[in-house]
Symmetry: D2
Subunit: 366 residues, 4 copies
């Protein structure tokens, strides 16, 4: 497989290029009986939609999703759900020039090295539009998780030097600020920082955090398919992510054992952790606490200032990228992180159903 499929039991297969006819995803393994409409998915897609604010690209794209299969009389049937978004706003002419050279920080060079040539229009398959399929699938996974009492929240933790204050955490702000920060004050600072970046023909990076509440203990497999390992792959597979942390992450490596260990205590007749440095995962398996992960996103590689590069003929040249580009990828990637987390967690829940004889007996011997 060329890696356009993800998941063992809840398997998503995405397809499509930035400037091709359409993009989409096929979801195989969705349990039957879930109420599902195009609106459920559109709400997620709208969260990654460009053209909403001054810090995202001015392209106007509708990105309207169409359910082509797998839903009948308003419910999933258990058969593959095919979701498609037609490309409507592509202006290939903008990109003709980049056919001939390799943009720094982009996948132009590596696609040529791998395949011999590439669909250069808008980055082709390596475009951020590739995430449309991930987000559409994430909407479905999230709806299932919700029905099982599991809630995901992703948001921008920082942009450039601006970081949110946990004391000002305001969940509503995630959907209302252009930065997707849950802290309106930090968001304003970040907007100012981005305006400065744009003025300098430059771009910024940042950090996305995702928390999962209500996940039962026992999810994830103990060796290669640890829940944190699976999440790391899911998150790192999002273009522009350069680091992933679970719980205290890099700080854990700097702490002592006595600081990092989470003590257990009893609460409502259940073992719980007094602290959560582990980020909800011990030995690769969920421990019943809140799962916490962070994705570190590099600055947008498409910047308008001059850059040195080479062209396909092997000549060194100087370029200045044109077109429509976000000064920061982070806010639009928030829903992608949330989606990949949802898909990964649902898959782990499905795999875990066979973990013990008791489960088989519950399904097959009642």
């Amino acid at each position: 497989m060329a890696g356009s499929s993800y998941g063992k039991l809840f398997q998503i297969t995405t397809w499509g290029e930035s400037h091709g006819k359409a993009l989409g995803v096929v979801i195989d393994g969705c349990p039957a009986g879930l109420p599902l409409s195009e609106d459920d998915i559109q709400i997620f897609l709208n969260r990654r939609k460009p053209g909403q604010t001054r810090i995202s690209t001015p392209r106007k794209e509708d990105d309207n999703v169409e359910i082509l299969s797998g839903v009948f009389e308003g419910k999933t049937t258990g058969t593959p759900i095919s979701l498609m978004v037609r490309n409507t706003s592509q202006r290939s002419s903008d990109y003709g020039e980049i056919a001939e050279y390799y943009r720094p920080g982009h996948a132009d060079y590596t696609f040529d090295a791998k395949y011999g040539f590439r669909d250069y229009r808008g980055g082709g398959r390596s475009s951020g539009r590739e995430t449309i399929g991930r987000v559409a699938a994430g909407a479905v996974a999230s709806k299932i998780l919700q029905q099982l009492g599991i809630r995901l929240t992703a948001y921008t933790r920082s942009i450039g030097p601006v970081t949110i204050e946990d004391s000002r955490f305001d969940a509503q702000a995630i959907l209302e600020t252009p930065t997707c920060m849950p802290d309106r004050q930090a968001s304003e600072k970040a907007e100012a920082y981005l305006a400065e970046c744009m003025k300098n023909y430059d771009s910024a990076g940042g950090v996305i955090e995702c928390v999962v509440e209500g996940c039962p203990a026992g999810i994830g497999e103990p060796v290669f398919d640890k829940l944190d390992a699976a999440l790391s792959k899911a998150i790192m597979s999002i273009g522009a992510v350069k680091a992933v942390e679970i719980g205290d992450g890099i700080l854990a490596a700097q702490h002592k054992g006595s600081e990092n260990n989470d003590a257990f205590r009893m609460q409502n007749s259940q073992a719980v952790k007094s602290t959560n440095h582990a980020g909800g995962i011990l030995g690769g398996i969920s421990d019943g606490s809140t799962i916490v992960l962070r994705a570190h996103v590099k600055p947008t590689p498409s910047i308008f200032s001059k850059q040195q590069t080479v062209n396909r003929q092997g000549e060194e040249i100087e370029i200045a990228i044109k077109g429509r580009h976000d000064p920061v990828i982070v806010p639009r990637a928030v829903v992608v992180v949330e989606s990949m987390t949802a898909v990964t967690l649902l898959d782990a829940l499905l795999v875990n159903m066979g973990a013990k004889m008791e489960h088989l007996q519950k399904i097959y011997q009642e």
Copy 2:
């Protein structure tokens, strides 16, 4: 699958518990015709062997590997290579006590939550001894990579607050210092720090770095199976790793686009990058530069100081862990990081063989 297999074409399946009869790995998909002996593997296993210095556990384990299949007349045959290490030093009596309670920072609680009970002896399957199979497989993968001109080097970057100086980098020191640091001066500081930790019944974490030189451009798949995504899963699946970085990693998220982009230039008629903030991977595909990754490892959870926890009966108790435990996991995990990187990269090289028609024609039409 319960996730004890890893890899798509070069597939490794590990098995075994800390205090069971043996541990091992089955390697399926190893190309035929590779010269391979038990010594090739033993050299790797010896790098993770305890009992070598005062900062590792005083257990004396021989961990002698036996090749049970897949090698004939000194060469791999293409059929599964089964490798086994008998457990010889297990003293189960040390561990009887932990059967009844949940050690903070360990997988005791989550195994019980998942499976209903657990092999508690020495951590069972969640023990560090699980990595024996990974390292044995890594030895095989590394030998193949070496034959293709690809060289891996992993080492300790930091322990607690002590970090190596790149200017003092000394590859030989990796194998000679008890910390696996490539900087003898830093290693001495780290040893002193660890001695202090031990005196305080405490433990430390640290950072492991792995670099890959000589990897051709074009390796890795562009969407979910990005090379960096696959490496992240591989590394995060090692017990105790809490964060993974590629290239500049978390720093990339703090830099501007103009700082983070790597310009291309020509060198020996080939496009190369002037800098390597990307860590050798663009758009999930290797770019021909050195691949750089870092694993952040939490402090050893087994500490001798008193800790609060609960037992299986749901009572809150205070415990003090006994037994033999390294004050830091990092040095023994260095070869594990190197091994998982080797296995992941080899698998990606195999998958990439079908990337273009030209490759098929080269194999099937000569």
Copy 3:
């Protein structure tokens, strides 16, 4: 996964219901650089098109394929190829009645047992239209095989009691007779037999044979992924197939060793077999001879005569199926058998590329 994906490296994922909006397939892992047009695929789809002769359903369906991604400037790019066929001729009203009862020989009952309900229109996902995606993918696989000098031919071997005579084998007749028989005389007899069946409100079964010429020796994996095992799954996964044979098949079980063994001899300095009872596969690996397989297809379950069954309310009822149904599935399934064989063989060729060190050196060390 719910099993709508097939293949390890050349992976196809099909989706769509008989009377949904559309049907399609995503092909992931197609090598880059293959010239590919919609016409290449349409030619295959036309071979399974109904409404062409008096022995197939009178539905007029255009089944026009659209390439939505993965092809740029007339060549495959290595990224997923999404192919879609819109449903245009669906008349759901025909099928309202079958919502309530279980047609004998169909999957109505088992879908309800598995998923709790089903999209009953035209059989939903269990309809023969599900094979559109298989055939579209088969067209792509066949084109690649062709470029490597591998040729596939599938045809009807028998319908009911009528079997072709090998001495009258006429390849052109496969595409020209309504039965897809390579024997015009047998075809006429079969047509007469089918006319009789239709007159009696009954249906017939038959046998499809597929031969592969030009496959190099060494393809297929020796244990679970034997080439014949993979082909068996591929063929048996086509609805209505009830038996699969390789080479002499069931006759082999009746022969003695001295009859069944194929002697080796030399031809053009190469080892060849004097006979081919094995059907081109020894120990699960291709031996360089013609690969021969046969699929035994049950009679169309939709017959117009009266049948006993039960409805969803658990009442025993008598039904007479209405609508448009072929009296035999065989002719339209010929191209499906050829397609599944092509996809399976291409996948095996790709997996085999890593079988020996020599191959890796050829790709990575020139």
Copy 4:
């Protein structure tokens, strides 16, 4: 993967060569909490043991299994179960001669074509001893199925021209006749036939049937992973099998729709089929009836009469195979067919656990 692993959730990985140090299997994904002892597995292994009667090879092999991991205090822990059988009776000297030529009907030639060379001792990996791992895993799968009320029975249906009479079916005879036929009279005829074959330095083939009772309706996935497709692969992957039938199999292709369709009726408030031509599977999904499959096994290729072949130097030669060989493979393959059926069915049961929301709610919301 080189295909030594099988199964999606209950995954078995076999390893070992006929004359290597040992053979074995790693079972990953076995549910925790199953009581399991070496005896449970040994009983199955003894059924494939040679040296028991005059129609099987006189080799005395103990084939004692050792559980190396995954079982603690008499129960499976959910972690990989590693099972090993040491080779004790290997006499490599018997086989030195075959290193240089290609035995007709064997995999010698194809292994050389694929890998460049082979472990020729006793057939190496292509030996019937490879099935030890399959049978050991089958013992575990069967025990789980048994606990869920699902019973498997495999037996010899025919050897050469001798077929059992259903009216004389005697389950006890399967374990007591040297042919594994459930008909003592047929068994005696078959033994006489085999004695004749041996006298003529020849060998025979036959048919194995396997029936599964108590399987709930709804198991199997509707497209590529149909239960019959999965079973076909499982069975065809056993060396020497050349055809697989489900239910009426090849006869179905000769019958009319009115003969082949199974009517539904009510029994104990449940829909059941009045006949079972389908063999318990409709649309790839179990229908609650008895599952019936047949494997057609070719005659032993190792015969003592003279045969034409070529050697590695490309010379045409005449050979007469020596050593110890069964005149028929069928009786010893009976337990292999049963084992592969058990493993496949258990895997399908596990995958099906996520088929509907109701199942997820049952596991995660009580």
